[in-house]
Each structure stands twice: as structure tokens, then as C-alpha cells.
Symmetry: C2
Subunit: 350 residues, 2 copies
DNA sequence: TTGAAAGCGCTAACAC
DNA sequence: GTGTTAGCGCTTTCAA
């Protein structure tokens, strides 16, 4: 193992000062062409590259973004992570991953750890934020953006889908499909996404003079979702729902499995199923799930944009509350309303 | 935004020297209880925490592990990432993510970037390694472990499943199931996993006096896998395969969709399908895929163990070549051999 | 344009 | 056990 090459060694080899070397590797510093050439030659020969950490120390900027994420089982998050990491890489940043459980003190610990790394910003995905933590980051001068979670804390930037409108659209679609007994399987109550989807859904039903026929909680957990499906559907045909909106796709797949393979129900003939997210398996034909798409690409773009804004102009950047439009992706898991115009909905594509 | 708190400020507040503060936060340093108490009190009051980057500078250890990964669409990788990140967190390390495309020069660039961060180690998942890169890391003194890829480069640590044995097991299972026309849909030829699975599979067939009835390449890509399935199966019943081993689950789902929904074939009555990985959707009942499990938990444990070994004793640690045993998970996508004893296979669980 | 010098926040000898 | 001192590898004044 050879020792690490420092700028000083390059300087000596090139016959210049150490600070000259630094300038050559500092975009926009003033160096003569001649010096630059000499230095680059020496650097190449030695295999020198500037030490990012040392640079971070003196500049007070690490070019690291901390990402806090609770679970990757829901395929929406891997997708997000890939998009986010790529987008950030393009801006010269990198993602340091912190996994956490949802419990509050765990998150507190994780936040402290994150701050220890002097990250330039934090993205919290699928994780709630207390005002304590928010204050802590504020105090440390580290901008935070919430991804796929809304929050009522003042001054915090949050990027999510328009879950309320999304829930409402589902209600409209189901009603247009002439469903009579409409059910809802909820996600985890701690999540704003769950609350907004449900509220929008209920509002949509109410607006058409309908009300929820049945309700169960799945907590964004497949096993609980499965149980919820049994509770709701293991009944005589005239009592059981003829449609169910499941708060995310991850649960919806489990629900469809129970419906078809445990209860011998046809989807959508016996019951229509609608999910939320449009994760990749939703398009797999064995499910072919009608669902609300979360436009991860746009959500990530907004997140990165907000972050860059907050980082470059911490004093003037305004906190944003972004709600990306969420289109309905019509597939075959829900009965198609007669003459449903595809306003705001889509079969595929963006 | 308050300024960042330094150890010096804590020292002043506590009325001790700056190095005393440092000692308090250095496990195993010698400090009196009294000093420690004073310092901790002051630190808490000020909200002080040591700057990890500064510590990294002087110690030459960043406690950051770089993870290079090409894609997260194959659900095997998110699972890995979650496991890896958790395991590393327990050891006081964190994962810095670098996404890359498979192309060689891209990887070169990514490696340089990684090295710039002074990572203590690198995990390359689903990414091949050239001997150039290997040499570069060696020179920089940064240990690398290959995850889910073998490699013939000398002295490099690689952790994967026993893909050869796995492929062989699939052949045995299919033959025991009295299949006559056995096909294979290959993954990307650049991947050792693909090559080993195929070699093992062919060896297993040969050992029983069988040979491959048909072959197509899916490159670990769903669209190509779909096309491969059409090429192989869109023929009269007596010509088409009655079983297919697909090089990973990700492709196997796409293949099953084509079989069932485009070609109207029954699985497993008309054709048995076997995958590799045992990603979560393999257990979803709509697929219920018989597959070889990659024991991600064990693979990750080995990876972390090897890494810690390499980091703590760089001079004496031996490169490892680990091949984790890969059990067959019998579900319903392949015809069950009569009297198949479950030696080495499993229905669920570990 | 360039070099010398002063730190960034911390750890690790080294004396006391 | 504790303070003093010398860096870790870099960027950034400041003079020249």
C-alpha cells in the first residue's frame, strides 16, 4: 500500500508551491497556463487527487447529503433513492444513507449522527419530523427537505404528491364505475400521505353523496393489509365491498392475493382494487393494478432543486411546500367506468 | 443559524483545555471522572458534538464505506442495501452511495470520486471490477469487497452465492420433475452470477444425460427477457420447452407474464418456471415462484465481516472468496417431482 | 500570478 | 490526569 499523495508532494515534483497546486484544482482560481500544465502533469504522474474531506474542513462544506429512510421494502423508495442519488451526483453531491426505524428517539439519534458528518443538507424520506429535530437542524444551519411527507411545522420544506387530490380522484373513478360498497384500507396513521389520501378519498365520496362502506387499517404493512382484506371481504356477497382503495401499492398486491387466492374473488369482476404509487410491479400483468402514480422523477427534481436553493442562499431561500400532481393510471384491476374520459388520467407514459 | 460549536468553546465553558474535551469524546482515553462530568455538562449545554470530518482528517479514517451499485430495479439490491447499511451502522460506519452505469469508463470515474472521499472501504455490488481499478484501490490502501460478483483477479475479496451449485440444483429439480425440453434464459454475460448459474445448470443437465433444449438471452433486463420468452415459447406444443430456468427472478416475472397472458400457457401445467434470488415478489401468490434463494443476510454479514477484517488488519487479512449456500425454495411455478425429498430445499424460512 | 503563512476542528505525542 | 504543541491536507488571505 503506497502512501497517499498530497498536494505538497505534487508541488515539489512540479517545482511550485503547495498553494499553486491547490489553485489548479480550485475551479475559478487564478493560475497561469504554464503552472497549471506543470501541476497537472505532476499530479497525473503521481496519481494525485484532492482530498475531499480536507477541503470540506476548511470550506465548511462536505458536499454530502444525508438521506434518512425507514424502509426500502416499498419499491417506491429504491426508485427514489436511485433518482435522488443520480440527480445529486450531477450536482457534485453524494448521498450518505441513514436507515432508521420510525420510533422517535431512534430518529433523534440518527439526526445527531447525521449532523456529525457535517452534511450540507438532509433529505428525510418516509420519516416524520418533529419540531425539535427541525430546530436542531436549523441551529446547525443544515437545510432539511421532507420527501413524501407533509408537515405542519413552520418554515420546513416538504415535497410530496397531491395526495388529497389523488384520493379524491380515486373516489370519483370508483363512483363513475358505479360501485356501491366502497372500502378503504388505510396506511400508517402517522404518515401524512395516509391521512391526505384518506381525507381526499372521503371528500370525493361525500361530494357524490356516497359514504365509506367499510374501513380497515393496514399500516403500510403487508401482513396487516392481508388481515385487513380478510376482515373486510370474508363475508357474503351482498355485504362485502365491491371496491377497495388501498393506501399504497405495496399493500394492494397483498390484498389482491388474499382476494384471489384465499377468498376466490375475481378482480375486478367481484371487486375493484386501486392502489397508490405506481411502483414497477403494478404494471406486471399478474396484477395490472390501477393506481395513482407518484411521479418520483418530478418529486426528486423538486427536492434537489429546493435543496440546492437552500444550500446556496440559506438566508433568502423560502421554504417550499410542493405537491406534485398525481395522475391516475388506468389498468385492469378496477372496473372501467362507461365512457370514462381520460381527463387527468393516463394509461401509461408521463 | 447559530455558528457551529467547537471543542474549544466547550473547553472554555468547562474551564479545561481543548484536548481534555477531545479526550472525553475519545473512547478509551484517560480522563478523570470530574473533568468528564464538567465537559459533558458544558457540551450538552452548548449542543456540542465532535466533528466527524475533522476527526477523519487526523486519524486518516473516515468511517465511511463507499457502495457502488448499478441499479436498484432488481429488488435484490434494495434488500442488500438495507441490510448492509444497518449492519455497518452497528459498527459505526455509514454508506456513501455511488450509482454507476455498467460501462467501464464510468466505473473508473466513479472509483476516483469514491477515493476522493477517503472512504475506509468499498463494496461493489452488481458491478464488475477490472484489475486496473483493483490496483488503484490497493495503491490507495482502500479495501474492496465484491458483492454478488466473483472475480478472477488475484487477492480480491468476493462474496456471492454458490451460483454453480445453485444452477445445478435447478437442473436436478427439473429433471426429477420429468421435464423433457428444458430451456434457459440467460442474464448478462458480463456477470459472473450469470456465467456460474448457467455453467452449473448445464453441468447438472449433462450429469443426467440431458442437454439444453433451447436458450435465449435476457441480459437481466425485463424487456429482453420478455422477447426471449416469445422467441422460446411461441411455437407448437411439441416443440416448445416444458420448463425454463430464468437467470434471475426479476426476469422470471416478466417471462411468466408473457407465458400466461400473451401465449395463454399455464404455469406449471404447460411450463415450469424457476428463477434465482428469491426477492420478495417471488412469494406473492400471483407468481409464487419456485426459485433459488440468495441469502442476502448471510452475504451481507460476510461482506461486513471481511471488510472489518481488511480495515483493522490490512496487512494480515487474507482475501476471501465466499460462496454462500443457496437453497431451493419450492413454490408452485414448477411442477413438483414425485417424492422429491426436500434435501437442501425449503418451503419458507431459513 | 505566485509563495508564505494562518488556520479549519480535531487527535496524539510529549512533558509536567 | 492534564495542558501544550504539532500536525492531518487543504483553502485562502496577504504580500510580493
Amino acid at each position: 500500500m503506497a502512501a497517499k499523495i498530497t498536494s505538497l508532494q505534487v508541488a515539489q515534483k512540479a517545482g511550485v508551491s503547495q498553494s499553486a497546486v491547490s489553485r489548479v484544482f480550485t475551479p475559478g482560481a487564478s493560475v497561469s497556463q504554464k503552472t497549471a500544465d506543470k501541476v497537472r502533469a505532476a499530479a497525473r504522474e503521481l496519481g494525485y487527487r484532492p482530498n475531499v474531506l480536507a477541503r470540506a474542513m476548511v470550506k465548511g462544506k462536505s458536499r454530502i447529503i444525508g438521506l434518512v429512510v425507514a424502509y426500502l421494502e416499498n419499491f417506491f423508495y429504491p426508485e427514489t433513492l436511485e433518482l435522488l442519488s443520480n440527480a445529486l451526483q450531477e450536482q457534485g453531491y453524494h448521498v450518505l444513507v441513514f436507515m432508521t426505524k420510525q420510533t422517535a428517539d431512534n430518529i433523534d439519534d440518527v439526526m445527531e449522527e447525521i449532523l456529525d458528518y457535517q452534511v450540507d443538507g438532509i433529505v428525510m424520506a418516509s420519516v416524520a419530523m418533529s419540531s425539535d429535530i427541525s430546530a436542531r437542524c436549523q441551529q446547525a444551519g443544515v437545510p432539511v427537505v421532507l420527501f413524501n411527507r407533509g408537515q405542519d411545522i413552520e418554515g420546513i420544506t416538504a415535497v410530496s404528491s397531491d395526495n388529497h387530490a389523488g384520493g379524491r380522484t380515486v373516489a370519483e373513478f370508483l363512483i363513475a364505475g358505479e360501485h356501491q360498497r366502497i372500502a378503504y384500507i388505510a396506511g400508517w396513521e402517522g404518515a401524512s400521505t395516509q391521512r391526505d389520501r384518506e381525507a381526499g378519498f372521503r371528500a370525493g365520496l361525500a361530494a357524490a353523496g356516497h359514504k365509506l362502506h367499510a374501513y380497515a387499517v393496514g399500516d403500510f404493512n403487508t401482513e396487516l393489509a392481508r388481515q385487513a382484506a380478510r376482515d373486510l371481504f370474508d363475508k357474503p356477497a351482498n355485504l362485502r365491498p365491491d371496491a377497495v382503495f388501498v393506501a399504497n401499492d405495496h399493500m394492494a398486491f397483498a390484498v389482491m392475493d388474499v382476494l384471489r387466492f384465499e377468498l376466490n374473488l375475481q378482480v375486478p369482476e367481484d371487486v375493484s382494487v386501486i392502489g397508490y404509487d405506481d411502483v414497477p410491479p403494478a404494471a406486471w400483468l399478474a396484477y395490472n393494478l390501477t393506481t395513482m402514480r407518484q411521479r418520483a422523477n418530478l418529486m426528486v427534481a423538486e427536492t434537489v432543486d429546493a435543496l440546492m436553493d437552500l444550500i446556496s442562499t440559506p438566508d433568502t431561500a423560502m421554504p417550499r411546500r410542493v405537491a406534485i400532481d398525481s395522475p391516475l393510471v388506468v389498468r385492469t384491476s378496477a372496473r372501467m367506468p362507461k365512457g370514462w374520459n381520460t381527463k387527468g388520467s393516463t394509461n401509461e407514459g408521463f
